[in-house]
Amino acid sequence: MNNNKHWFLKGLKDGIPIAMGYFAVSFALGFTASSAGLTVFQATLASLLCNASAGEYAGFVGIASKVSYLTMAAMIAIVNIRYLLMSASLSQKLPEETGLPHRLLVGFWITDEIFAASATVPGKLNPFYNYGLAISSLSFWALGTCFGAIVGNVVPDNVVSALGVLLYGMFLAIIIPPARENKILRLLIILAMSSSFLFSKLPVLSSISNAIRITILTILISTAAALVFPIKEDEDNQETGEDTSYKEAVEVKNAQ
């Protein structure tokens, strides 16, 4: 029991650097939510339940274009599909005898940053470490979304326009640095952006909603890339695509 308390407190503490990054990203996301027509309460609720930046963004785009429920489910599945890998990896990291409620709760709170922090713990993982991490960092995720949605409802149009690109800037800050080191990622990003542009401009294709375009292109390009450029063993160990600076901060803390 004492051990659980120790890990919980350690998690709370290690979650603090993650919380700051979360607050900023979710503030921008709250903004997207309010432009998509969600109320402040709905935006906050979505963040409390979904804990995912790209996933929630995709959801808000879907809500804005009033996609069918089936389309919504498909796009959320694709955008969040990488969590399968993290969940599979944590299933090896938890003690064999860990009960179902703990497994469900650890799964519910998997994010890129929480995964990075908990997967690098030496030895077996105490689920209370994840709870500590999740509670200190994800409360700021929800709070940031709430503030972003409030601000999105009150500021004038030209500020809406400027704040609206904050999230895209953050997406670029996530994908560009690894692309600088890896020319396959560079190629894929250029391919993804240009085909996304073409899809939105060409006749017929441009009638596809943004939500479906994101889903289709993600499947097509990632599948092609997986077949043509299979990764080397373990290349994906730490690289999950989300902001690595916070992961590094947490890893350094864990190493100490």
Partner: protein, 100 residues
């Protein structure tokens, strides 16, 4: 009329299922290299598709969005990090929309 709450419920259920299936039922590492590669590439591709051309469509003047994209890529390329890159994009749009 589709309800926002139903959408949020679907978003929650699907994200939750993906996160708990391997932890509860499968309980194995994913070894297949093609699947691992696919999962590795998805975030980069999806964020790139989400960013462009949306960055031009979500602002009042598309050209301001295009400049924000270029400035954002340059800032991130040279190690700007999360906040500076986001703020740089935002400032570009704010200033350009004042003058264009």
């Amino acid at each position: 009329m589709r309800s926002n709450y139903t959408y949020i419920f679907i978003m929650f259920s699907v994200s939750f299922l993906i996160r708990v299936l391997p932890l509860t039922l499968i309980r194995k590492q994913i070894k297949n290299i093609t699947i691992r590669s696919f999962l590795y590439y998805v975030p980069y591709v999806t964020l790139a598709v989400m960013t462009f051309p949306a960055i031009m469509e979500d602002v009042e003047k598309p050209i301001a969005g295009l400049f924000a994209l270029i400035v954002g890529i340059i800032t991130a390329w040279f190690g700007g990090g999360l906040f500076p890159t986001a703020v740089a994009c935002s400032v570009v749009v704010f200033v350009l929309e004042l003058f264009i």
